[in-house]
C-alpha cells in the first residue's frame, strides 16, 4: 500500500499540477461544465476507439514476443546480433523493415529480445526506429503528403538518424541494464527470464500452452498501461481545445515544441498520424510537421506508460529527453537544408 503510494503518488501529483497550470495559464474556472453529456459521449467514443485500435497490435506484439520466448533460443539471438556496436545499431535501425510493428506491440517484443541476450542499446534502437522505418509507414506518409514527397524521405531519414545516434550514445554511456530490476517492485512481477526454459515445452501441447500463458500474462501487463494511457489521451482530447494549444504556437521555436507536445498527447498510431499531420500543413511549416511525425511514434503518452512498466524510470526520462532534443535539432536542420 505504502509502496503503491510512493510509486504512483508523485506522477499523479505531477499530472494534477500540470492540469492546474494549464487552467491557470488559459485563465479558466475549474471546468465543471465539462462533465456534460456531449463531452461524456466524446470521451467514451475516443477512449474505447483507442483501446480497440490498439488491441490487434498489442495482441500481435505479445504473441510475437511469446513465440520468440518459446521457439527462439538465446544463442540464436546472440548469433544473429552483430558484435560490432556500429553494425549493431544500424541493424537495430533497419530491423523494422523486416519486422514492422507499431509502437504498442513493440515494447513486449523488445523487452523479450533484451532478456534473451540482445544488447540493450540495439533493442532500444529497434524500439525507436521500428515504428517509423518500415514499409507500411513509408507508404502512408507518402500518400498523406502527396504534394511534398520529401516528407516521406525526411521522416524515414531523420527517424533512422535519431535512433542510431541514441543507440551509439547508449552504447557509450549506459552501464547497467535499463530494464526494471526484477525483485525491486514489491513482487508484482518477479521476472527472472534469464533462465532458459524455451525448449522445456514438451510437444505441441506444451508449447502452445506456454505461448498462450506468456501472451495472456503479458497482455494484462501491457493492457493496464494501454488502458490508462487511452484514458488520459481521451480526457485531454475532450477537454483541451486545439486553439488553446495553438496560441502557444506563434513563435517559430514554439511551433516545433507545440507539434511535438501535440504528438505526445494524441498518441495515435504511426500508420495514421501522417494524415493528421497533413491536415496541419496549412498552419505549420515543414520542420514542425516533421518533428511531429518523428517524435510521435517514438514517444507518446500511451507508450510512455508502457515504457515505464518495463524500463527504469530514470532511463525512460533520459530517453524521452534525448529523443525530444535530437528530433528538435534534426527537424530544424532538415527545414533549413530543404
Amino acid at each position: 500500500m505504502l509502496k503503491f503510494l510512493f510509486r504512483f503518488g508523485t506522477p499523479s501529483l505531477a499530472v494534477g499540477c500540470l492540469i492546474m497550470a494549464v487552467l491557470i495559464v488559459t485563465n479558466r474556472e475549474l471546468p465543471m461544465h465539462l462533465f456534460n453529456a456531449a463531452n461524456l459521449q466524446s470521451f467514451k467514443i475516443l477512449f474505447i476507439s483507442i483501446i480497440l485500435e490498439a488491441f490487434p497490435f498489442i495482441l500481435l506484439g505479445v504473441l510475437f514476443s511469446a513465440l520468440l520466448q518459446v521457439f527462439v533460443t538465446d544463442e540464436l539471438i546472440r548469433k544473429f546480433t552483430p558484435k560490432n556496436p556500429i553494425a549493431g545499431v544500424l541493424f537495430g535501425g533497419l530491423l523494422g523493415i523486416l519486422f514492422p510493428l507499431c509502437e504498442c506491440g513493440m515494447i513486449p517484443v523488445v523487452r523479450r529480445l533484451i532478456r534473451k541476450g540482445m544488447p540493450a542499446y540495439i533493442g532500444i534502437v529497434y524500439l525507436l526506429a521500428g515504428p517509423i522505418v518500415n514499409p507500411i509507414v513509408y507508404t502512408s506518409t507518402f500518400t498523406a503528403f502527396r504534394t511534398t514527397p520529401e516528407m516521406a524521405y525526411s521522416r524515414m531519414g531523420l527517424a533512422f538518424a535519431v535512433s542510431v545516434v541514441i543507440g551509439l550514445l547508449l552504447y557509450k554511456f549506459m552501464r547497467s541494464s535499463p530494464l526494471k530490476a526484477t525483485s525491486a517492485i514489491n513482487g508484482v512481477q518477479h521476472y527472472d527470464h534469464s533462465h532458459d526454459h524455451s525448449l522445456q515445452g514438451k510437444g505441441i501441447r506444451g508449447r502452445s500452452a506456454s505461448i498462450l500463458s506468456h501472451s495472456s500474462d503479458e497482455f494484462f501487463e501491457m493492457g493496464k498501461y494501454l488502458i490508462f494511457g487511452a484514458f488520459l489521451t481521451a480526457v485531454i482530447q475532450t477537454v483541451i481545445e486545439r486553439s488553446t494549444l495553438e496560441s502557444f504556437a506563434d513563435q517559430p521555436m514554439f511551433a516545433y515544441l507545440f507539434m511535438m507536445a501535440f504528438a505526445f498527447i494524441l498518441s495515435i498510431c504511426s500508420t495514421s498520424d501522417a494524415f493528421i499531420a497533413s491536415s496541419f500543413s496549412g498552419m505549420f511549416d515543414f520542420g514542425p510537421l516533421l518533428a511531429f511525425l518523428v517524435f510521435g511514434p517514438m514517444i507518446d503518452l500511451k507508450n510512455t506508460l508502457m515504457l515505464l512498466s518495463t524500463f527504469r524510470v530514470k532511463f525512460v526520462l533520459a530517453l524521452i529527453a534525448l529523443t525530444a532534443v535530437l528530433t528538435l535539432i534534426g527537424a530544424w536542420i532538415t527545414e533549413v537544408i530543404l
Binding site: 485500435e53 490487434p56 522445456q200 508449447r207 494484462f220 491536415s279
Partner: protein, 293 residues
C-alpha cells in the same frame, strides 16, 4: 486460481464487446472500415486467451503446476492494487456496454477546430484565371478554356481532373465517398465554381462568430479510429439559420460563393433549400486513398 478466473472473465468480456459492436453495427462509430477486420481477429485472440485462463485455473484446482513455465507472472498479493488493476480493465467494458452510444458532434468539433476550406495540404493556385471564370457558365468551354479554369501542377493534377468532371454537372453533390477530396477541389478552384449549384449533407456546427445567419455543415473524417477524426465543414448562409440546432443533420442545396469569416476568404453556400434528415448509419467520412490513382 481466482486470478485466472477474473482474467478469463475480462478477456471474454472484451471478446464479447467486439462481437456486440459488430452485431449492433456500432463498430463504425469507433473504427474505420479498413481496421475492422483486425479488430474482429483480435476478438478471436482474446477468446483463445480466455479459454486458456479457464484451463489454467482448472489445472491449479487439480493441484497441478500451471503448464511448462514456472516463471508464472504472479499477481500482486495486495488486494487494493488488484482491485485498481482489474477495475481499470472493467471500466471500459462497463462504459461500452452500459452508457448509450451517441456520435461525435459539435462539442468535439469545437475542440478540434473545424476545417472550413478542404484539405490544407494543397496550396491554392494564385488567381486561377479570372478571364475564363467570367465567361458565361452555360457556354460550352473548349479544352483550352477548361485548362485555364483548372490550372494544375503535378500535385493537384487529380484535383484538376476531378474539378473538370464536377464542372460539367448541373448539380454538384458532395458525396460521402470523396467528401474531403470534393471540398478540397471546390476550394482549390473556387473561381470556376462560383454560381454553381451544390448539395451537401452533414451535422450543424456553429461558432459564436458565425452570428445568426450562418452555420457550417460538417462531417468528421476518420483514418483509423475516432481519436484521429478531424471535422471538415462547409459554411452555409441561410437567413433563418437559428431554426436549426447544433448536431442536427441537414441536407442543404445552395449556390456556391465565397464569404469572409475571421479575416479569411472561405468557400460558402448560399442556401436555397434546407432539409432535416436522419443521421446516416456511419456519421464519418473517410479519405479516399485511391483518389487520383
Amino acid at each position: 486460481m481466482i486470478h485466472h478466473l477474473i482474467r478469463a472473465v475480462i478477456l471474454t468480456g472484451f471478446a464479447m464487446f467486439i462481437v456486440y459492436l459488430d452485431r449492433t453495427g456500432e463498430m463504425v462509430l469507433y473504427i474505420a472500415p479498413r481496421m475492422e477486420l483486425y479488430v474482429k481477429l483480435s476478438a478471436l485472440g482474446l477468446y483463445a486467451a480466455a479459454i486458456y485462463q479457464v484451463y489454467a485455473a482448472l489445472q491449479k484446482r487439480l493441484g497441478r503446476q500451471a503448464p511448462v513455465c514456472d516463471c508464472e507472472h504472479e499477481p500482486s498479493p495486495s488486494l487494493f492494487k488488484n482491485c485498481v488493476i482489474y477495475g481499470l480493465f472493467v471500466f471500459p467494458l462497463l462504459l461500452g456496454f452500459l452508457v448509450p452510444t451517441g456520435t461525435l458532434g459539435s462539442a468535439l468539433a469545437a475542440k478540434k477546430g473545424v476545417n472550413l476550406s478542404g484539405s490544407a495540404a494543397f496550396e491554392r493556385a494564385v488567381d486561377g484565371s479570372p478571364d475564363a471564370a467570367q465567361q458565361p457558365l452555360e457556354g460550352k468551354l473548349s479544352g483550352d478554356a477548361m485548362d485555364q479554369l483548372f490550372p494544375s501542377d503535378e500535385y493537384t493534377e487529380s484535383h484538376a481532373a476531378y474539378g473538370k468532371l464536377l464542372y460539367k454537372e448541373p448539380l454538384i453533390t458532395v458525396p460521402e465517398k470523396q467528401f474531403i477530396e470534393t471540398l478540397t477541389t471546390l476550394d482549390l478552384y473556387r473561381e470556376a465554381f462560383i454560381g454553381k449549384e451544390i448539395e451537401i449533407s452533414g451535422f450543424v456546427y456553429r461558432e459564436d462568430d458565425m452570428g445568426k445567419e450562418r452555420f457550417a455543415v460538417s462531417r468528421f473524417a476518420m483514418n483509423c479510429c475516432s481519436a484521429d477524426a478531424l471535422p471538415y465543414g462547409l459554411m452555409i448562409i441561410w437567413p433563418k439559420a437559428m431554426d436549426y440546432v447544433e448536431d442536427e443533420w441537414v441536407s442543404v442545396k445552395g449556390t456556391f460563393t465565397t464569404s469572409s469569416y475571421l479575416d479569411n476568404e472561405i468557400i460558402t453556400l448560399e442556401a436555397t433549400k434546407l432539409e432535416r434528415m436522419k443521421a446516416p448509419e456511419s456519421p464519418y467520412v473517410y479519405p479516399d486513398l485511391d483518389f487520383g490513382l
